[in-house]
Symmetry: C2
Subunit: 297 residues, 2 copies
């Protein structure tokens, strides 16, 4: 089960511009997850949400019983990336129907074994957990600088309650008030995280655990067309992989991170969900094998 936003994004990068394209953390995570498992989606859209987007999400096998349609307009984000595609410049955020979003989970969602809390208000993330009928097998959460700045204590509670909470290196530094990623990793482990996963954009992702340290490089893309949603795709892939394999060993986390990196890198190769929707699992496998070669010595 994936709870997060479904959005209409207007995005400009040095490579082009899209208007009202399908976006949102639950969208990217859901499609990415579908390479491994069929996710239940919990989110909200407005009455303006195009039927073709419903159809697209359904065609990927996503269960949309928990995608509520409310009177009003769909959450709209407008952003721009400059030459440095690591930094998003938000031009406009219209929360619309997302502003008072309280997930309404269909009954069968409440028994989900694997839960991904997309990058939304930590209060909403904690509310989703409180709605569940039984303790899930695995909870993966995501967060961002905005919430760390405005609701640090609640984010720390999410980190504590989730089995793993994803963040990037800048966010880890901000949350634990240290410049050392290694120290931040140790702090995450102290909060009962199974492993500490810190994303580093083009530099890949690292994982700290009680038994070791793992580093997966960033896939060497010549051009990043649009990085929007790459982090969400990463999280969605990982929860999908864990739900499929049900193996929480260090070795399996490592494989999961490489699959997630592979899918996130495809995400960045085109605007919105275009690339993600045009690849097959054999493309993902192929990239997974490329990673094997990237680090061999």
């Amino acid at each position: 089960m994936i709870a997060g936003s479904v959005a209409l994004d207007t995005v400009k990068t040095p490579f082009g511009r899209v208007e009202n394209a399908l976006g949102g953390s639950a969208t990217f995570a859901g499609i990415a997850c579908s390479f491994f498992s069929k996710p239940l989606i919990s989110s909200v859209v407005g009455s303006d949400f195009p039927k073709k987007y419903f159809d697209l999400l359904a065609s990927k096998g996503l269960d949309l019983s928990g995608l509520i349609v409310k009177n009003g307009k769909t959450f709209h984000w407008e952003g721009e990336y400059g030459v440095d595609l690591n930094v998003a410049n938000t031009l406009r955020t219209d929360l619309n129907v997302l502003s008072d979003f309280k997930p309404e989970l269909p009954d069968f969602y409440k028994n989900a074994d694997f839960v991904f809390l997309g990058n939304i208000d930590p209060d909403v993330q904690l509310f989703v957990l409180s709605e569940l009928k039984k303790k899930p097998v695995f909870v993966l959460a995501d967060t961002m600088n905005h919430w760390i700045g405005s609701k640090r204590e609640r984010v720390l509670e999410v980190v504590k309650k989730a089995d793993v909470c994803l963040m990037n290196d800048a966010e880890a530094r901000q949350l634990f008030r240290t410049n050392s990623i290694v120290k931040a990793g140790k702090e995450i482990l102290k909060l009962d995280s199974k492993v500490a996963i810190i994303k580093k954009g083009e530099h890949g992702v690292v994982m700290f655990s009680d038994s070791g340290f793992f580093s997966c490089p960033g896939y060497p893309l010549e051009d990043v067309l649009d990085p929007t949603g790459a982090g969400d795709s990463f999280g969605g892939s990982l929860i999908g992989y864990l739900a499929k394999t049900k193996d929480f060993s260090e070795e399996n986390f490592r494989r999961g991170l490489v699959y997630a990196s592979s899918i996130a890198s495809f995400n960045a190769e085109d605007f919105s969900v275009k690339k993600l929707c045009s690849i097959s699992f054999s493309d993902v496998e192929k990239r997974f094998n490329e990673f094997l070669d990237f680090v061999k010595f």
Copy 2:
């Protein structure tokens, strides 16, 4: 043979301060190189250069026949690192005897098979190459933002003439006027480089070649006490490893990069050359093996 600077450094980091400590690109590179090969050092110091530093360099097996002593003061660099240890803030640069440095190579230096051109003025780097009696087997060069900004064409000539020219990601972006590291790597290969090696500080190092892409993670240091000289140590280790193995295959470059990363990470664990002088080759081997585990999946 290693040509570069020998300096007295005054360095302040959040972890302490040293005054007139042994530094300079030829110093770090020479000591790092000595784990694999015995380097010939070409540099210049002033009459104030302490005997204990001569003794220390000699004790590491460095040939100092080309370390000229001139009347005047030794090159002095004063810098400070803030919380972000990736960025050096230069407080003062007194070139002193280095200001009109023209390497005087003893005759037997001119037959060197393996040459490392440390991070000095590209005109001096090209002068050193012109002094050689025969074409070396392998020339490794290093450069920095300062020279790319002030002498771009000469730096490009160094890149062309060397077999490999090291730079970090910001410098590669600056030199090739692109934001894409992958594009910069391709540009380097176009300039007849055997491989394109781009250092990324705490994020490790990547290598592009005609046959593939390699990524070596940064060693996960909890604290970087002083990053000064880590890049020079990296270069010195690599030329030493190549001189020892005489193997220019992709596989051997990969192993060389991991050895160089291992030694550079030790460099950053203490001020000046302290740590580098206190470790043995078995410590380096141990860290090499840790890298094997860091990337295994």
